[in-house]
Amino acid sequence: MDYRIEVEDLNVYFDEAHILKDISINIKKNRVTSLIGPSGCGKSTFIRTLNRMNDLIDSFKMTGTILLDGGDIYDPKVDVVDLRKKVGMVFQKPNPFPKSIFDNVAYGLRIHGIKDKDFIEKRVEDSLKEAALWDEVKEKLDKSAMGLSGGQQQRLCIARTIAVEPEVILMDEPCSALDPISTTKIEDLIHKLKEDFTIIIVTHNMQQATRVSKYTAFFLNGEIVESGLTDKLFIEPEDKRTEDYITGRFG
C-alpha cells in the first residue's frame, strides 16, 4: 500500500514557541486518518502545514520534510497554488463565500481558468451530489449560500473543495460547530469520499474518530504519542498517555 503523504522529523515554530516536535507519520492513500488530542496540542497546526496555510503567518518556521506523492511540498520550486489545488481543506467553521450556492462551488474551477459553462455546470452538480447536498439546493442554486443552515454550509464547503478534484482533503474539526444530525450526514459523506480521496480529519470527538477513520494519530503537546490502526489504538493502546486520554482521564 502506497503512502500519499510522508512526514519526517517535522518541527514547527511560531517565533520562539516550539509547536510541533519531531513529527513523523505516513498517511495512506484513500484512507481516512484521524488526528486526536486535547486542545492546543498542534493538530490544527499540523494539517495547516500540509497545504502550507501556515505560510500566511509571518512568524512560521519549520524544519523537516513533507512529501506528497514523493515530492517535497516545501521545495522552493513548488507552486503553492498548485499544491493547494491538490490538497484541499475544509475548515472548522463553515465558511462559504457571500456568493450564490452555484458560484461557491464554481469558484475553484473559475480561478483555475476553466471557462466552459457546460463543464462548470456539470461539475457543480456532480460535486453537490457527491457532497449529498444536491437535493436540498437544486431549486435555489442562485440563492446566497449564507441562507443555508450550518450543516448545509459545511457540506457546501466540502462540495466546493471536491469540485477542484484534490488528491487529499484536510478537515479541521469539520463537525464541531454542527448539530448531531448534520454531523451524521458529514460522517456518512466522509465514508463515501474516501473512495476517491485521501482524508485527514482533526477531531475532538473520539467516537467520531472510531466511526470514520481507519488510522488514528494521538497528538499531545506537539508530539505524536502513538499512531496506527484506529481499532488497535482505541482497544489496546501501547502508551499509557494514550490510554489515559481515550479513557477520558484528561483532555
Binding site: G88, M89, K93, K99, I111, K143, S144, M146
Partner: protein, 290 residues
C-alpha cells in the same frame, strides 16, 4: 433612589440625542423659510433651469452652478475612486505591517488639513501649471476637480481600507485553500464582500466634494456660465452662496437661500440613491446576513 437616577440618565441621553436632530431641523426650516417664498414668486422651473445668473439685471438661473457642482464632483470622483481603491487594497492586503503603520496615520492626517491650505496650494502651484499646459487662465473645472480629488482621497482610502480589512479572515483562507492566488482572492472574494463599505466610503467622499466651498472658490474661476470644456472656469453652488452672501440684499439675498435649497436637495438625492445601492448590494451579497 436608583430608579430616579436611571430615569434622569435615560431622559438626559434622549434629550441630547434629540438636540442634534432639532438643530438640523431648525437649520432646514430656516433655509426653506428664507428661500422657498423667493422660488415661488420667481418660478421654480425658471430658477432651476434658468441659464443666466445676473443679479444686477434680476436674472437668477442656477443651472450653470448645478452643472458646475456636479461637473467638478463627478470629475473628482472619476480621478479619486480608482486611485483610492487601489491604495486601500494595497494597504489592507499587500503592504507589510510597518508600511501600513506609516501610511494609515499619514493618510488620516491628510483628511484633517484645512481646505484653505489645499485651496492655497492649488492657487499657487496648480493654477500656473494648468495655465502653461492647458492654456486659458488656469482657473477651471479641471483644476478644481484635481484639488477635490486630493481632498477626498484620504476619506475614501481610509473608510474603504477599513471595509476591506473587516472582511472575515475565513473568506480569505477558504479562497487560498482552493488554490487561488492572492490577487484572485482579493479580486473575487475580498473586494466584492467589501463593496457595501466601499460604497459608504464613496458617499462620504462625494459629500465632502459637493459641499466643499473655499478650495473650490480659490481655483475654479467662479464664472457663472456653462463650461464647454473641462478647462473652462465654473462656479459651484457652494461658491455662489459664499461669494455673494456678503453683499446680497433683498431678492438677491433670498435667491442665495434658494441656491442653498437646491444644494440641499441634490445632496439628499445623492444620499438616497447611494444608500439604496449600498443596502441593495448588502442584501444581494450577504443574503441578508452581512
Amino acid at each position: 433612589m436608583k430608579d430616579i437616577g436611571e430615569f434622569l440618565i435615560e431622559k438626559g441621553l434622549l434629550i441630547t440625542a434629540f438636540l442634534s436632530i432639532i438643530i438640523i431641523l431648525l437649520i432646514i426650516i430656516f433655509i426653506f423659510s428664507e428661500g422657498l417664498p423667493f422660488m415661488e414668486s420667481y418660478g421654480f422651473l425658471k430658477f432651476i433651469f434658468g441659464s443666466i445668473w445676473d443679479p444686477s439685471s434680476g436674472d437668477y438661473g442656477v443651472l450653470p452652478m448645478i452643472v458646475g457642482s456636479l461637473g467638478i464632483t463627478s470629475l473628482a470622483l472619476v480621478f479619486a475612486i480608482p486611485l483610492s481603491l487601489l491604495c486601500a487594497i494595497y494597504m489592507a492586503e499587500i503592504a507589510p505591517k510597518t508600511m501600513r503603520k506609516i501610511l494609515k496615520p499619514v493618510i488620516e492626517t491628510l483628511a484633517g488639513i484645512p481646505s484653505v491650505v489645499y485651496g492655497f496650494f492649488g492657487l499657487i502651484v496648480l493654477v500656473p501649471i494648468m495655465r502653461i499646459h492647458f492654456g486659458g487662465t488656469g482657473f477651471s473645472m479641471f483644476t478644481a476637480s484635481i484639488i477635490l480629488t486630493v481632498m477626498i482621497l484620504p476619506t475614501i482610502i481610509s473608510v474603504s481600507e477599513d471595509a476591506l480589512r473587516f472582511i472575515p479572515h475565513e473568506y480569505k483562507e477558504a479562497s487560498l485553500a482552493l488554490g487561488a492566488t492572492h490577487w484572485q482572492t482579493i479580486k473575487n472574494v475580498i473586494f466584492p464582500a467589501a463593496i457595501p463599505g466601499i460604497i459608504t466610503a464613496i458617499i462620504l467622499g462625494m459629500g465632502r466634494a459637493i459641499g466643499e466651498t473655499l478650495a473650490v472658490i480659490m481655483v475654479a474661476g467662479n464664472v457663472a456660465q456653462f463650461p464647454t470644456t473641462i478647462s473652462d472656469p465654473v462656479r459651484a453652488l457652494t461658491s455662489n452662496i459664499a461669494i455673494e452672501m456678503g453683499y446680497a440684499t433683498g431678492i438677491h439675498y433670498s435667491a442665495l437661500f434658494g441656491t442653498a435649497i437646491v444644494l440641499f436637495i441634490i445632496i439628499i438625492i445623492l444620499l438616497v440613491v447611494a444608500n439604496y445601492f449600498h443596502y441593495k448590494k448588502k442584501i444581494t451579497i450577504g443574503g441578508g446576513y452581512l
